[in-house]
Subunit: 125 residues, 2 copies
């Protein structure tokens, strides 16, 4: 079983698109504010929903969360320094963590979700 859709929530869908495209480098293939922005993520998709919209769905089962969600994107182990530079140049505060099998970086997206980049080695993958 693999994950096909990973989701975080944001009320400002435009700010979410700007962050995930311009900073994270994802391709946005659906942009329908105020409800959603969808991004290509390899063999899956990364979805940002406005919880005020998805909680009120009538055709689909309602969902939506408040607070700080979390997602981690896979990078190469040799890309950590480049990502630190990318985040710093975007004016983001960068948090670092050292694991037994690698290193990861964290920033917060405009909605306050905790976004991590890490090599798959931290999970032995």
């Amino acid at each position: 079983m693999r994950v096909l859709e990973t989701c975080v929530y944001a009320r400002d869908i435009g700010a979410a698109r700007d962050f995930y495209v311009e900073v994270m480098g994802l391709k946005c293939f659906v942009f329908k504010p105020p409800r959603q922005a969808f991004f290509d993520a390899g063999d899956g998709v990364f979805l940002v929903f406005n919880p005020d919209e998805t909680r009120g769905d009538e055709k689909l089962p309602p969902h939506g969360a408040d607070g700080s969600g979390h997602v981690c994107f896979r990078i190469g182990a040799d890309e950590i320094d480049d990502w630190r530079t990318t985040f710093e140049e975007a004016g983001l505060e960068v948090h670092e963590a050292t694991w037994p099998k690698g290193e990861s970086l964290y920033v917060y997206d405009p909605a306050g979700n905790l976004v991590e980049v890490a090599p798959a080695t931290i999970w032995g993958k």
Copy 2:
């Protein structure tokens, strides 16, 4: 860019483990209540955190959300009927959606997160 970690939140980590192992068929490789349960998910991992614990982290950047998160797991297009049976036998209410390129099923996990199973064809993958 691919997703490495997908996360939802639950306060009852034991109930989350039971659901994701027994109903969803994932392998739980870290079980540390009341904080977290981690599950293998192919080339990535699926994480369930107790937001009351992760919001208070001192070493790692805090995160944690309340409400109904969302995740979708990838299944084969020919597995929909088997999954409907699995969910019904688990006593879960099953919601169905038909998309231009496939069908998906939804249930809620014990914490109220919306869990979907769908073939990758619904995203053209």
